[in-house]
Symmetry: D2
Subunit: 382 residues, 4 copies
Amino acid sequence: TLALFQQALKSSSSLPERTRPLLEHLTPPRRPLKGTGTNTVSQALKWATPPRNVLLVNKDDDRVRNSLVTLAQHLHDTYPGVNILLEPSASETLRQALPYAYTFENISDLHRTCDAVITLGGDGTILHAASLFSTTKVPPILSFSLGTLGFLLPFNFRDFREAWEDMYHGRARVLRRMRIGCRAFTSTGIPITRGVFGEGGAGMIQQAMNEVNLHRGREPHLTLLEIYADNKFVTEAVADGLIVATPTGSTAYNLSAGGPIVHPGVDALMLTPICPRSLSFRPMIFPTSTRLQLRLSEKSRGAAEVSMDGRMACVLNQGEYLEIGVGDGLGIAHKEGEESEDRGGILCVGRGEDDGWVQDVNELLRWNQSFQGRTLAHGNGE
Amino acid sequence: TLALFQQALKSSSSLPERTRPLLEHLTPPRRPLKGTGTNTVSQALKWATPPRNVLLVNKDDDRVRNSLVTLAQHLHDTYPGVNILLEPSASETLRQALPYAYTFENISDLHRTCDAVITLGGDGTILHAASLFSTTKVPPILSFSLGTLGFLLPFNFRDFREAWEDMYHGRARVLRRMRIGCRAFTSTGIPITRGVFGEGGAGMIQQAMNEVNLHRGREPHLTLLEIYADNKFVTEAVADGLIVATPTGSTAYNLSAGGPIVHPGVDALMLTPICPRSLSFRPMIFPTSTRLQLRLSEKSRGAAEVSMDGRMACVLNQGEYLEIGVGDGLGIAHKEGEESEDRGGILCVGRGEDDGWVQDVNELLRWNQSFQGRTLAHGNGE
Amino acid sequence: TLALFQQALKSSSSLPERTRPLLEHLTPPRRPLKGTGTNTVSQALKWATPPRNVLLVNKDDDRVRNSLVTLAQHLHDTYPGVNILLEPSASETLRQALPYAYTFENISDLHRTCDAVITLGGDGTILHAASLFSTTKVPPILSFSLGTLGFLLPFNFRDFREAWEDMYHGRARVLRRMRIGCRAFTSTGIPITRGVFGEGGAGMIQQAMNEVNLHRGREPHLTLLEIYADNKFVTEAVADGLIVATPTGSTAYNLSAGGPIVHPGVDALMLTPICPRSLSFRPMIFPTSTRLQLRLSEKSRGAAEVSMDGRMACVLNQGEYLEIGVGDGLGIAHKEGEESEDRGGILCVGRGEDDGWVQDVNELLRWNQSFQGRTLAHGNGE
Amino acid sequence: TLALFQQALKSSSSLPERTRPLLEHLTPPRRPLKGTGTNTVSQALKWATPPRNVLLVNKDDDRVRNSLVTLAQHLHDTYPGVNILLEPSASETLRQALPYAYTFENISDLHRTCDAVITLGGDGTILHAASLFSTTKVPPILSFSLGTLGFLLPFNFRDFREAWEDMYHGRARVLRRMRIGCRAFTSTGIPITRGVFGEGGAGMIQQAMNEVNLHRGREPHLTLLEIYADNKFVTEAVADGLIVATPTGSTAYNLSAGGPIVHPGVDALMLTPICPRSLSFRPMIFPTSTRLQLRLSEKSRGAAEVSMDGRMACVLNQGEYLEIGVGDGLGIAHKEGEESEDRGGILCVGRGEDDGWVQDVNELLRWNQSFQGRTLAHGNGE
Ligand SMILES: NC(=O)C1=CN([C@@H]2O[C@H](COP(=O)(O)OP(=O)(O)OC[C@H]3O[C@@H](n4cnc5c(N)ncnc54)[C@H](O)[C@@H]3O)[C@@H](O)[C@H]2O)C=CC1
Ligand SMILES: NC(=O)C1=CN([C@@H]2O[C@H](COP(=O)(O)OP(=O)(O)OC[C@H]3O[C@@H](n4cnc5c(N)ncnc54)[C@H](O)[C@@H]3O)[C@@H](O)[C@H]2O)C=CC1
Ligand SMILES: NC(=O)C1=CN([C@@H]2O[C@H](COP(=O)(O)OP(=O)(O)OC[C@H]3O[C@@H](n4cnc5c(N)ncnc54)[C@H](O)[C@@H]3O)[C@@H](O)[C@H]2O)C=CC1
Ligand SMILES: NC(=O)C1=CN([C@@H]2O[C@H](COP(=O)(O)OP(=O)(O)OC[C@H]3O[C@@H](n4cnc5c(N)ncnc54)[C@H](O)[C@@H]3O)[C@@H](O)[C@H]2O)C=CC1
C-alpha cells in the first residue's frame, strides 16, 4: 500500500514525504461519537483527537471546483495537521491548484485513513460520498450547498470557516442517518458478485443512504416481484418496481412514489411500491430488526434493475433476490470492544441543537403549502 | 305577488312605482347564451335585451358591504334601466344606503324576475348565490373578489366598472359550470321533504355547484353506505362519507378527499370517498348520463348528514337514500321550444377567451409546486 | 396492391381467386355505427351489409392458437361470405391449419379491406389489434378471453358462436372507446419521423387506446418535462414520467400511477404523473378539446422514452416534444359527407345493454374490497 | 374503598368474604414482562406469581355474553385462585349467571387490583378495555374474536382454554403495543378538565391505543389547526381534522385517511391529516421522543372535537390545544426502582413467536390484492 500511495503522489502531490504520515494515523479518529441510542435526533460530535485526513468531494462543475480549492487552501493554511484527500478524478483535475493534496488508487486505502468528509454540491454529492464507503463505516460528513438548497445540505458554503472549525474542535452537533444494507443472491442462495456486489469482496453488503430499489428500467413490461419479511412470504407485487428506503430516503424516491415523510430519528424501513397494478398496495413500514427479501419472480417476463441511491447496482434475473436490512442485521460482525453506537449510520454535521428537519420539510418540500389568498378566518371562505 | 313586492318595498325601497315594472320584464333576458355544446370551455354571453334586474349578493362584512354600495350606486347612476335586487337581510341592513333597491319575500319572485347576479366576497358567496336558485335556473353570475383571491372569482373588485359594462353589453365570455341535482327518498321510494328538500315544493330537485356529500357528521362511528349507479348495485362503502362532485367542485372538498382536479369543461360526475375503511376505494368518474343512488344502509349504526355546497341539507336515516345526477337527467322537464343549451349549468362571467383555469390551479392551489432551490439541470441534483 | 395480395396468397392461402373479391368490398362496412353522441355508453352496432373481411388476432401461445383455428374453421364453414385475415406471422404459423386464410404484406391493404376484428388472448391482444390501425380508423372489435379474465375482454371464448352471430347480424351492442392521437416534433416544430412516427407516412398521427407515456426508461435520473395545454405553459414536471390516458386507459398504467378510474363514456383526457418529485402534483383531467404538449426540457440530463399502449414508440431528445389530443383535435381532416360520429374511437362489442364496466371494476380490479370479517352493523366493530 | 367493594358485592357477588382478599394481592403480578427494548416484536410473558384478578370485558350482545359466562365458569371451576372481575354494567346483567364475580364502583379499585384482562368481541372491545386504564398502566390483555375476525384479536374463542392456560402459566408470547398520551390546555396553558380530561384527576394524561384525533365533527366548516413539534411551529392545517396515531392505530382511522401501514414494533408517532385543503399535506412520521401540540386556531370559525380511540374526549375551543406524545414523554413520573420496560404500552397476548401481523394485513385488510385472473407470466398480459 505504500507503493500505491507513492503512485498516488505522482498524480497529485509534490510532497512525497507526506505519503507516509497519511498511512499512519488511522482509525481512532473515525469513531467520534459520544452519545446513546439511535433514536436521539441530535448528538454532540466528539473526537478523541481532531481529524487529520479529510476527504473533499465535489462534483464536476466549475463553480463547485473553485469553492473546493478555496476550502482546501483554507484548511491547508490554517490547520497544518490536516491532510487533504481527493478522489482520483478530482486529484487529476486539480493537480495544479492543489499540489499538496493526497489521493488513492485503492478504495481500501481511503477506508483505512479517512477521518472526515466534506462535500460541496447537491444532495447527489453526499450520496456519492457515502457510496465511497458503501462497504464500510462512513466518517462524519460535513456538507455545503452552493447556491441551490438541498435536503441533506445544512450549510451554505459562505459559512465554511465556522462550520469546519466547529467540526474540527468537536463543537458540532451531528444527526445520525441510518443506512440500509443490501446483498444479492441467486435463486439457490449463492451470493451474486455482479455489478457493485463484486466490489469490495464477493458478496459484500452494500450500504445505501436513501434507498435500494428494484425497477423494470428499460423493460417495457411490469415486473413481478415476491416480497418476504424474515423469509416469510408477504405478497407478490406486480409493479414498475419497489423501493426499500431509510427515513433519510423518505424524502427522495419514496416521496415521489407516494410514501410518507419520516423523520431521520425514526428507526424504520419503508417498503413503497412504484406504480403497482393494485388498488390496495399501501406503503408499509417495518422495524429495523426486519430483513426484507425481494425476489424477481421466475414468471416475470424480463430482468429488473437494482439501484442504490440512484446508482445502478446490478441487473437481477428471474429467480434471483435481494436481501435488505439495516446494516448490522445483515451480519456485519462487531469488532471486539466496539460499542454499539459505533456501528451503522452516517453522522451528518448539523446546524445546532435542532435538527432543522421540520424547517427543511416546510421550505424545501413545500409541505402542506396552504392555498394562496385564502384565510379561513372571517367566514365564507375569504 | 304584487302584494309581496309592495311589502318588500316598505323595507327597502321608497319607489313603489318601480315594483310593477320589476314584475313585468321577466324571463327572456334570462336565457342569454348563444353557443353550442356543453363541452366548449368559454362562450360568448349574448343578451336579447340587456339585463334589468340584477341581484347583488354580499356577505356580512363591513368591507364587502361598502363595496356593494359603491357598485349599486354606480349601476343606479349609470344604467338607469337597471334595478338593484337585494336579499331580505341585506335589504334590511342597507335600507339607508340603498333606498332604491328592491327585495323579495318569496324566493319565487326572485326566480321570476332576476336577470343577472353579481357577487362580492369569497367563493362561499357564489355558492350562496347559486343556492338561491337551487331549484331553478341560475341567471348568469359576475363575481368579484375583495382582497383575497378565490377559485371561482375571476375579477378583482377594482375592475367592476369594465366587467359590468362588458357583461351588460354582451361582450363578456362565460364559462358554463355544470350543476348536480339531488333528491332524497325514504326506503320505500317516497320523496323526503325534510330540510332543504321541503323548500320550493315537495320533492324538488336541489341543485349544487360543488358537490353533494353524505357524512357521518356528529356521529362518532363510520357510516355504511350502499352505492348504486342507475339503480344497479355498485359497492358498499364503510367510510366517514361520500362526495359526489361536479368538475367545479373537484377543487373543493373532492380535492381534500384525494380526488383528481377536473377542468370545468369536462362533462362528468365524480364519486370520491371520505376516509373509507378500504385500501382499494379509488375515486371514480361517471358520465353525466349516470344517476347515482347513495343509500344509508339499514345496518348503519347512526344517521348521516347530507350537505350541498357546504350547507347542511338534511339528516338521512337508515334505509333512506339520495338520487344524484346532472340536472336534466334527474327529470327537470324541458319546456316547449327551449333549446338544449338553455338548460342546466351556471354561466359564470370570465376574463376572456382563455378560461384562466390552468392559471388558477397553479397560482391558487399551488399545483405541482416544484421543490425549492432545485434545478435538475446541471447534474448531481443541484 | 393486387401484386401484394398475390404475394400474400403465396404465403398463406391456396385460393388465389379469393384475392380479388377481398380488394373490392372495402370501406362501407367499416362505418357501422348508428347512434349519436360520444357520451352514450352502449350503442347498437348496425351494418349496411354484413362484414366480410375479418381479421383474427391472436398471441403466440398454443392454447390461443388452437382456439383461433376452431374459430376460423367455424367462420369458414358457417359464413361462406366471410374471409379470414391473419397477420403475416400468424399466417406463417397457421399455414397448414388455415390454408384458406388471407394475409397482407403492406399494412395499408389491411386498412383498406378489414371490416371487423376478432381478438383472442389478454388485454394486450386488443391493444395490439388496435395498434395495427394506429394511423387510421379501427374496425369494430370483438374480443374473447381465454381462461383469465381481462378488463377489455367481455366474452369468454366458449360463447364464440353466439357472440359472432350477434355481431354479424347487427344485433350486438358496442361501447365506443376513445383513442388519443400523438405526434412528435423537434424543438423547432418539425415532425419527427423516428420510431413509429415514421410509419404510415411522415408525421402521421399515431393513435393509442390506453395511453401515451413519456418515461425516463433506462435513464437513472429524473426527467424534466414541460407541460403545455393548447400551447400555453402549464407546469414543469420533475418525475419518472407522465401519462396522458384515455378513460379506457384509466384502469391501466394510470391506475398504477394513482389516477382515478374513469368510465369509458366520459369524454376526457387524463394527465397523470409517474413518481413526480412534488408533493402537490395531483392527476388532472382535461376536456377532449384540449391538446397537450409534453416537451422534454433542454435542461433534462438524458433522453426520454415515448410509449403508446405499452409499445416503445420513439426516444425523445432534449427540446423535442409530443402533441397529444383526441383524434380529430389533432387535425385528421373530415372527409366530405362524413358524419361526426363516424370518426374516432374504437367500437368494442359488449355483452348487452349494460356496459358491464361497474362489474369489471368490482370483480377484476377488486375496487373497494371491504375488510374481511367486518360488518359494522352490530356495534363495537364486530 | 373497602366500603366500595362491599357495596359492589351487593350487586354481583354473594361472597362477601372474598372482598378483602381482592384488595390485598395487588400490583406485583401487574408487571409481568421480562425482556428488553420496545422494538422487540414478540416477547415472553412471565409472571412472578400467576394472575389472580382477571377482568372480563364483553360487549352488549347475546352471543358474546354467553361466551363470557362459559369462560368465567371455566376459570372459576379450574383456577380456584382466580377472581373474576366485571364492569358494573356487565355485573348487573350477569348477576344471576355469575354470582361469584366481583365488580367495582370506583375505577381506581380496578386499577389497584386487576392483574389481567380478557376481552370478547370486536376490536372495539379491546379499545374499550384499554380505555378503562387510560390514566394508568394496562394489565396484559388476552383477546378473543367471536365469529368475525379483528385486527387486534389473535384468538378464536373456541381456543379459550389453551390460550388462557398459556397466559396463566407464563408460556404466552406478548406483543407490546405503544400507547399515546394526551392532555388538553387552554390558550394560556392551564390544563383543561372538561370531558375525559376531568376523569382520574385534573389534567391527567389520557392514553390511547389507536389514535387521538381532532375533527370538525358537527361543524360544517373546515377547522384551522396549528401544529407544533416540541413547541416549535410546524404548519397550519386547514382540514376536516388531524390524526396522531400509534403504529397499532395505523390500520384504523389513519389507514382510511391515507396514512401508511406501520408494524407495531416500530417506535413512531404518525401525524395524518383528514381531508386537508392542501395538495401537499403528506402523512408525517415522528420519533416517539417528539411531543406534538395541536392547537385550534383563534381564527377557526367553530369548535373542534377531540376523540381518542373513537370515543369523544372533549370539545376544544378556539385557542385551546392538545399535547400528544408517548406516555413517558408526557411526564408520567417513574417510580423508584421501576425498570424502563415496565412502563408504557399494552402487552397483548399473541399466538406465537411470529406476531402474525403480516398475515393480518394480508387477510384482513386485503393489502395488495392482485387483480383477478391476471398472471403476468406468459406474455401479453394474460
Ligand atoms: N422519480 C423520482 O423521484 C426518482 C428519484 N430518484 C432519487 O434520486 C436519488 C439520487 O439522487 P441524485 O444522484 O442527485 O439524482 P437526481 O439528479 O436524479 O436527483 C434526485 C433529486 O432528489 C433529491 N434528493 C436526493 N436525496 C434526497 C433526500 N434524501 N431527500 C430529499 N431530496 C433528495 C436531489 O436533491 C435531487 O433533486 C436516489 O437516491 C433516488 O432517491 C432517482 C430516480 C427517480
Ligand atoms: N375538508 C374540506 O376540504 C371541506 C371542504 N368543504 C367545502 O367547502 C365548500 C363550501 O365553501 P364555504 O361555504 O366557503 O365553506 P368554508 O368556509 O368551509 O371554505 C371552504 C373553502 O373552500 C374554498 N372553495 C369553495 N369552493 C371551491 C371550489 N369550487 N374550488 C376551489 N375552492 C373552493 C373556499 O374558498 C374556502 O377556502 C363546500 O362546497 C365544500 O366543497 C366543506 C367542508 C370540508
Ligand atoms: N406499472 C404499470 O402499471 C404499467 C402498466 N403498463 C400498461 O400495460 C399496457 C400494455 O399492456 P400489455 O401489453 O398487456 O402489457 P403488460 O403485459 O405489461 O400488462 C399490463 C397489464 O395491464 C392490463 N391492462 C392493459 N390494458 C388495460 C386496461 N385498459 N384496463 C385494465 N387493465 C389493462 C393487462 O391485462 C395486464 O395485466 C400499457 O398500455 C400500460 O397501460 C405498462 C407498463 C407499466
Ligand atoms: N373513517 C374511519 O375510518 C373512522 C375510523 N374510526 C376508528 O374506529 C376506532 C374505534 O373503533 P370502534 O369503537 O370499533 O368503532 P367503529 O365501530 O366505528 O369501527 C371501527 C372499525 O375499525 C376497526 N379497527 C379498530 N381498531 C383497529 C386497528 N387498530 N386496526 C385495524 N382495524 C381497527 C374495527 O374493527 C372496526 O371495523 C377508532 O379508534 C378509529 O381508529 C373512527 C371513526 C372514523
